[in-house]
């Protein structure tokens, strides 16, 4: 019955969204009023959610197929439905209405404005900026090159130092390795930790580490390393989960213990994808290292933010040029290496 539960939650949410949008549109409260009455809106949200769930339940009782049930119902139920054109189905209209309302709310929330986009003053500003950036100040080139080396090695060290941690953790967080009463909780714990670590952006880690070890490339490298450990461990462990069982069974049948089974049954199957992911991670880290530099992580990013703050656009142009060339080269190189590894 769990699909029914998902259906009710989904349909309820789609109802409450449309209903509350309509309410807001009619009363049109100011942002101040909205902040003030947030708790009331929350109560209203819960109330309408219950109503929405009730409606969904009643509709499927009457035999309508709502969008929620269409999404979540199991395959054996899907077989029973005839093929009907979408505009003759309830779920089709539900989808259209929810999507339309989402789009309209999106336009309002992002203050979408065609007028601003076509404003001639703003456009001339961009042209001036563009002209300055495209006439780079080459006197800065040696300094930019020196700094991009810092960035490249930040990314390199972050990747290399992340490998041993990620390698070990990848087996601890793979479902097919961590079985049994002890293993499964460990799997859940490590997976959740990785997801939390990854949801904290490298930029935030850089802020944390710049307080800890001081502003500079070391802080940026540590930030990238933490992020790389979580990302690599997750990608690695997904590889571990998709290995074929045959070699594992074969090694186990020889009387190997758990560690031997992992080493001989799993590692040979995942080692190439691991290398491939790692090369790609270095490539990603070079790009992220630039961003990390914006908040004090060292490297070319720090240099860029200094000149951007002073609106020295020709210098910014030089830096952007150097970054673009390096990122392009890294991208090509990593693509070639990964292709060769297949």
């Amino acid at each position: 019955m769990s699909y029914k539960f998902k259906q009710l939650l989904f349909d309820g949410l789609s109802f409450v969204f449309v209903a509350m949008t309509a309410y807001m549109w009619i009363l049109n409260p100011t942002p101040e009023e909205q902040i003030e009455k947030m708790f009331f809106y929350f109560q209203m949200f819960l109330g309408l959610y219950v109503v929405g769930i009730g409606i969904s339940y009643y509709l499927s009782h009457l035999g309508f197929v709502t969008l929620g049930s269409k999404l979540f119902e199991p395959a054996y139920k899907k077989k029973d439905h005839k093929v009907v054109r979408w505009y003759k189905t309830f779920s089709g209209w539900q989808f259209l209405i929810v999507l339309t309302v989402l789009f309209i709310v999106g336009l309002i929330k992002t203050k979408f404005s065609v007028y601003e986009l076509l404003n001639i003053d703003g456009f001339q500003g961009v042209i001036r900026l563009f002209n300055e950036i495209t006439s780079p100040n080459l006197a800065l080139l040696p300094k930019a090159i020196l700094n991009i080396f810092e960035t490249i090695f930040m990314a390199f060290m972050a990747t290399v130092l992340a490998i041993p941690f990620a390698f070990v953790l990848s087996f601890v967080s793979a479902k097919n390795v961590m079985t049994g009463k002890v293993g499964y909780p460990i799997y859940l714990l490590t997976r959740t930790t990785f997801n939390i670590m990854r949801s904290i952006e490298a930029v935030l880690w850089a802020i944390i580490f710049s307080v800890w070890v001081g502003i500079g490339p070391f802080a940026g490298m540590l930030a990238l390393m933490i992020h790389s450990i979580a990302s690599l461990a997750k990608q690695y462990s997904e590889m571990v989960e998709s290995v074929s069982d045959g070699p594992i069974e074969g090694v186990m049948s020889c009387g190997a213990n758990r560690l031997q089974t992992v080493w001989y049954g799993i590692v040979p199957q995942v080692i190439l994808p691991y290398v491939s992911f790692t090369v790609y991670r270095w490539d990603i880290n070079v790009r992220m290292a630039t961003i990390v530099g914006f908040v004090g992580g060292g490297g070319i990013g720090t240099l860029l933010i200094q000149y951007q703050g002073q609106a020295m656009w020709p210098e910014v142009g030089t830096i952007i040029m150097v970054i673009a060339i390096v990122v392009w080269l890294m991208d090509q190189a990593s693509a070639y290496i990964r292709e060769a590894l297949k």
Binding site: G246, P247, E249, G250, M252, C254, A256, W263, P268, Q269
Partner: protein
């Protein structure tokens, strides 16, 4: 010939129910005699594979017992082990060491060399640290090479395992199992993914292992023609139950129909 009548495995009321609710084995009882070439036949899904994997604990049986008469020369009471009751890691390791297995899809480690694959038969007797570093003793290496020579691919020792043909891979798997010095060799559909010609080569090596090394073989097979040629005794499973036990010659067309269902046709491999 009195030796041959000794029981090495004694299976009693073995059942296996999978978490999905499927009952693969519904109370199997049979004896495996030392030194015999026992073939298990039956349709796909009759429980043949489950039966074999229960013996070396790749699958844990639900109930019943499998008595393994490990060392019959001594009067030690510990020489009889109920495989179904063994749960400790060391116990499972000991059983797997003495009961080797080969598989339909060979289950070799593809990126390792043939020799390295065969040396995996020594994992149970090598320390974890040494095995992770790939340090195997010279005598282990010599033994691995000896069994590779025995199955006729001694010259392929340093080739990557996935570069070999199917039949050669299965021979590597046999060598791997032999390196364990097992008393029993389980073979789960060893020729089902091989072409008819290679099929006989592999079966001949199993026969050689059985006759020259005296290792008891329990083998799942599809083809009845192979059964007649290689088996010393046959059992048949149908829907998780034992429906036939006897010599290969005793499988008459009537029995064939009973085991495989009415309308089944015999396929011959020559």
């Amino acid at each position: 010939m009195a030796e041959k009548t000794k029981t090495i495995l004694s299976v009693r009321n073995l059942t296996k129910q999978y978490p999905s609710g499927v009952k693969a084995l519904k109370g199997i009882s049979l004896d495996v005699k030392e030194g015999e070439f026992l073939v298990v036949i039956g349709l796909s899904g009759s429980g043949k594979s489950t039966f074999l994997k229960c013996i070396n604990k790749l699958i844990d049986a639900t109930s019943g017992e499998i008595l393994f008469y490990d060392d019959q020369s001594s009067n030690n009471a510990n020489a009889v082990i109920d495989i179904c009751k063994v749960n400790a890691v060391s116990g499972v390791k000991k059983i797997r060491q003495k009961i080797g297995m080969i598989f339909q899809h060979f289950n070799l480690v593809p990126r390792h060399s043939v020799l390295s694959n065969v040396l995996m038969g020594k994992l149970a007797t090598t320390s974890t640290l040494n095995s992770l570093l790939g340090h195997f003793s010279d005598s282990d290496r010599a033994e691995a090479q000896k069994y590779l020579d025995l199955v006729g691919i001694g010259d392929k020792a340093h080739i990557r395992a996935d570069q070999l043909s199917g039949g050669q891979q299965q021979r590597v798997a046999i060598a791997r199992a032999l390196t364990q010095n097992p008393k029993v060799l389980l073979a789960d559909e060893p020729v089902a993914s091989l072409d008819p010609a290679t099929c006989h080569v592999v079966m001949d090596y199993l026969k050689k292992v059985n006759q020259e090394l005296g290792i008891t073989v329990v083998c799942n097979l599809h083809f009845l023609s192979l059964v007649r040629q290689y088996a010393t005794r046959v059992v048949a499973l149908k829907d998780g139950q034992l429906v036939f036990e006897g010599s290969p010659e005793e499988i008459t067309p009537e029995w064939f129909e009973k085991i495989y269902g009415a309308g089944a046709q015999q396929v011959h491999i020559n």
